[in-house]
């Protein structure tokens, strides 16, 4: 137990919760029952008033912090910012991190069995929207007796969930933290997602999404989809600094004809290959569609100011200078709508060369702003039954 690094939540154990209340989905279909896998860090106080919901992004899951075993080398995806003394301080907060439905890490999704057919859902799994996740997270909150989240926090697609919560259940969230997020995707952003989906669907092993029945997976297609995504999560400068035109093998010496490979090619192929066996292709399609469909203000006459006028919480919005997938301009749109709606909002555009991925990576200024804000969230926790 002593072997875990300082500031780590240490060994964590995912939990599974079955829900038997039918879930009416945004697309009109119904999930008669579903299960959520989730992790928690820290301790829920007596009032159940110190809970923080962490919402994951496209390829994330419930494992946000800590380690699954003594020999586990890789901590959860947001371990840099969740733990004792870290930005989301587990000495103060009870952190809840679920895997969203439609995911592929244990919660009900394309990999799980459709009770009506007895076969895996595959591509028959209902198309989801961000609000569906909010509903399942609310069911989990009810179960844990959390009447109001101290904060709901997320990056990218996770930020969209946090903002949707603020509109759907305004009295159940005190602070909303949306990092590297957007009110809605741009045409260019949807275009990247569609290209990734087409790469998956073009794989001969895709079988219209029912590949599990054929005992195969569209490995190559998912790998290319991930490579496309990965390029857009990094910045051009960051990629240049890390890889440049360095060669992994071969040389340009005249008279040589050895196979040449750039470092960036090797890196992308490795990332794609690793992802293609760890993630589910149908989930990737489902998650990217949820991203595409999200439009915070759609039900509010496409007026983000009108949408945010329903919110009661305070907001922290952060963006990163080199993020071009969810550029600072997208975050500024959120901030401007919040200002027009006269909501309390803090905003900073953090310097980073890491592009969209920056929200996962250690960064001094980001950590300072995030930590300072979460300290205010902690100071806002009602104590001793006071509300």
């Amino acid at each position: 137990m002593e072997s875990f690094p300082q500031g780590s939540v240490g060994l964590v154990q995912p939990q599974t919760q079955q829900f038997d209340t039918p879930l009416a989905l945004a697309n009109g279909r119904t999930l008669h029952n579903y299960q959520l896998v989730y992790e928690t860090y820290g301790t829920l106080n007596e009032d159940c008033s110190n809970a923080v919901l962490v919402c994951h992004a496209l390829s994330g899951d419930h494992h946000a912090a800590g380690f699954h075993s003594e020999t586990d080398k890789r901590p959860g995806w947001w371990d840099n910012y969740i733990g004792p003394g870290k930005a989301i301080d587990t000495n103060k907060f009870f952190v809840v991190s679920p895997n969203n439905i439609g995911g592929c890490s244990g919660s009900t999704g394309p990999l799980t069995t459709n009770p009506e057919t007895g076969k895996p859902w595959g591509s028959d799994f209902p198309t989801l929207r961000v609000r569906d996740w909010v509903e399942t997270q609310k069911a989990l909150a009810d179960l844990l007796n959390i009447k109001q989240w101290a904060a709901i926090v997320g990056g990218s697609l996770g930020g969209m969930q946090a903002m949707r919560w603020a509109l759907e259940y305004p009295d159940r969230v005190r602070h909303c933290v949306a990092i590297a997020s957007a009110l809605k995707l741009t045409a260019q952003n949807i275009a990247f997602n569609e290209t990734a989906r087409q790469a998956i669907m073009a794989d001969p092993s895709f079988f219209d999404g029912q590949y599990l029945e054929k005992n195969t997976i569209p490995r190559d297609g998912l790998a290319v989809a991930r490579m496309i995504g990965h390029i857009t999560y990094l910045s051009g400068d960051g990629m240049g600094q890390k890889f440049g035109r360095d060669l992994r093998s071969g040389s340009f010496q005249l008279g040589t004809d050895d196979p040449l490979e750039f470092e960036i090619e090797s890196y992308l192929r490795y990332q794609g290959s690793k992802f293609s066996t760890a993630f589910d292709a149908n989930t990737y399609i489902l998650m990217t569609r949820a991203l595409d469909y999200f439009d915070l203000a759609r039900e509010y006459d496409h007026d983000a100011v009108k949408a945010f006028s329903h919110a009661q919480c305070k907001f922290l919005i952060l963006s990163f200078t080199t993020d071009w997938r969810f550029s600072p301009v997208r975050s500024q749109e959120i901030v401007q709508a919040l200002l027009h709606a006269k909501k309390s909002v803090s905003y900073a555009e953090i310097e980073s060369t890491y592009g969209h991925d920056a929200f996962l990576i250690p960064n001094e200024r980001y950590n300072q702003a995030f930590t300072a804000y979460m300290k205010n969230v902690a100071a806002d926790i009602p104590q001793g039954g006071r509300q």
Binding site: L316, L339, H340, V345, S346, Y347, A348, R365, A369, A372
Partner: protein, 197 residues
């Protein structure tokens, strides 16, 4: 406490909605929150200061004031404040218009370039004044539009801006007395409380 903060505090009504342009480390907004129970938001460009604002539990938005203030609606704040930053704006006159569009009232403070020390410096040495309050050389100063008390009041007159209050702040009590006699010569910092009507 910075010398003009007390004066500003006296101009702001309890429970006001306040927008502070160039709010720095949030000292003024925190003071107004604690003493006047205001709801405030600050705009600041320097990230170190943004973090200090958040540490004081002040809502702060990273913003370059020279890019305008179009995200703020007309009459959306009770008071819009700008302390010791007007002289660093590209177009102080337009900033003043914007402040009075967004706020029902506005409070502006600026270093008075007509102060006798500044005049003395220029007259005696023939060089641009450098002081404790304005410690920059002419080539590296962020303060690109200096004005005197008389210049500022002339601009207000041209723009038909009403001066509700004005206070001249000096470093010591002797200067305070002289300020009343000849503000343009003896005040180091000028504090103006303005409105459109």
């Amino acid at each position: 406490m910075r010398i003009d903060l007390d004066v500003i505090l006296s101009y702001v009504a309890e429970n006001s909605h306040v927008l502070d342009l160039g709010c720095g480390d949030g000292t003024l907004l925190a003071l107004l929150r604690d003493k006047k129970n205001i709801q405030g938001i600050g705009l600041e460009y320097d990230q170190e200061k943004i973090v200090e604002c958040i540490e004081k539990n002040i809502a702060v938005v990273q913003h370059n004031l020279n890019n305008g203030l179009s995200e703020f609606d007309d009459n959306s704040y009770d008071v819009v404040i700008m302390t010791l930053a007007l002289q660093a704006m590209q177009r102080p006159d337009q900033v003043l218009d914007e402040m009075l569009r967004i706020g029902k009232e506005c409070i502006v403070t600026f270093p008075n370039f007509g102060h006798w020390k500044a005049r003395w410096h220029l007259a005696l040495y023939g060089r641009m004044p450098v002081s404790d309050l304005l410690p920059y050389q002419w080539y590296d100063t962020p303060n690109i539009h200096f004005c005197t008390v008389r210049d500022f009041e002339n601009l207000c007159w041209q723009k038909n801006i009403t001066i509700v209050h004005r206070d001249m702040v000096a470093a010591n009590s002797i200067s305070e007395g002289l300020c009343k006699l000849h503000p343009n010569l003896f005040s180091e910092t000028a504090v103006y409380h303005l409105t459109r009507n």
